[in-house]
């Protein structure tokens, strides 16, 4: 009997253990629900944020035949198909094949398809095959496509 009585509590323990497992399983299920609801919340916020980033991504454009002299400052994208003489600061600059820039240029992303004369400070530089670049250029990442004409001092940051 004494052995039986000793076994009894362990049997009780086992029976106790099972419900606790069930409880943890319930917890896991509850957590999964939380995660799924969180991800759906994220997708909602993403949908909300996309139109705002589109507004930022909307480029400022200097059209072909347009000549600008002075300083341009922008937090967004700048497309230059015309001519700019002066200082340009923008997050992203594209100099189109008809574009000409004469002066200082600071930007994170810079794509040159046209002509550029002056000092450049950028992170990501891409020079197209028909581009002509002349000046001192400091960069982080560079890509020059075959045919691009480049001259000047290059400094990698």
């Amino acid at each position: 009997m004494s052995i039986f009585s000793k076994n009894q509590p362990s049997a009780e323990n086992e029976s106790n253990a099972n419900p606790s497992e069930e409880v943890t399983q319930e917890f896991v299920a509850a957590e999964q629900e939380v995660v799924s609801s969180a991800s759906s919340f994220e997708s909602v916020t993403r949908q909300e944020s996309t139109p705002r980033s589109n507004v930022l991504a909307k480029p400022s454009i200097i059209s072909e035949g347009f000549t600008f002299e002075g300083t341009i400052t922008s937090d967004g994208v700048l497309n230059i198909a015309g001519t700019v003489r002066g200082k340009i600061t923008a997050k992203s600059v594209l100099i189109d094949s008809s574009g000409q820039v004469d002066g200082e240029l600071n930007s994170e992303q810079l794509v040159i398809k046209g002509q550029l004369k002056g000092d450049v400070n950028c992170e990501d530089l891409n020079v197209g095959p028909l581009a002509q670049v002349d000046g001192n250029i400091s960069y982080k990442y560079i890509h020059i496509q075959r045919g691009g004409k480049v001259a000047g001092k290059f400094i990698k940051n």
């Binding site: 560079i142 890509h143 045919g147 691009g148 480049v150 001259a151 290059f154 990698k156």
Partner: protein
């Protein structure tokens, strides 16, 4: 191509160090280190290759490292692992993204 016809070619294996001036009529493929002047029709600097000195050729393809001076009369390609410091003279240039370029660039025929 280089493996088939080795006439007039120079191959420098990894770990080999060459010092002096070298005139190569055809292809120079460098996986080791060259210190001095190297002139070849076609130059391939492999990823482990290093040239310290003046490098001259028609077509130059750089996956490794070149210091001091590079002069290419036809095409110069700096691959993504390539690193060039010093003055560069070229007629046609291509730099892959990630390529490292530190120095002066000069176009041999700027008005063509």
């Amino acid at each position: 191509m280089a493996e088939v016809n080795q006439l007039g070619c120079l191959f420098v294996g990894e770990g080999v160090v060459l010092k002096g001036n070298f005139e190569v009529p055809d292809i120079a493929s460098i996986s080791g280190t060259v210190e001095g002047e190297l002139t070849a029709k076609q130059v391939l600097i492999e990823a482990t290759g290093i040239v310290r000195g003046k490098l001259t050729g028609e077509s130059i393809d750089i996956r490794g490292e070149v210091n001091e001076q590079v002069s290419s009369s036809r095409s110069l390609i700096i691959r993504s692992t390539g690193k060039v410091t010093g003055s560069i003279h070229y007629s046609e240039i291509e730099i892959e993204k990630g390529g490292h370029l530190h120095g002066d660039l000069h176009n041999l025929n700027p008005h063509s």
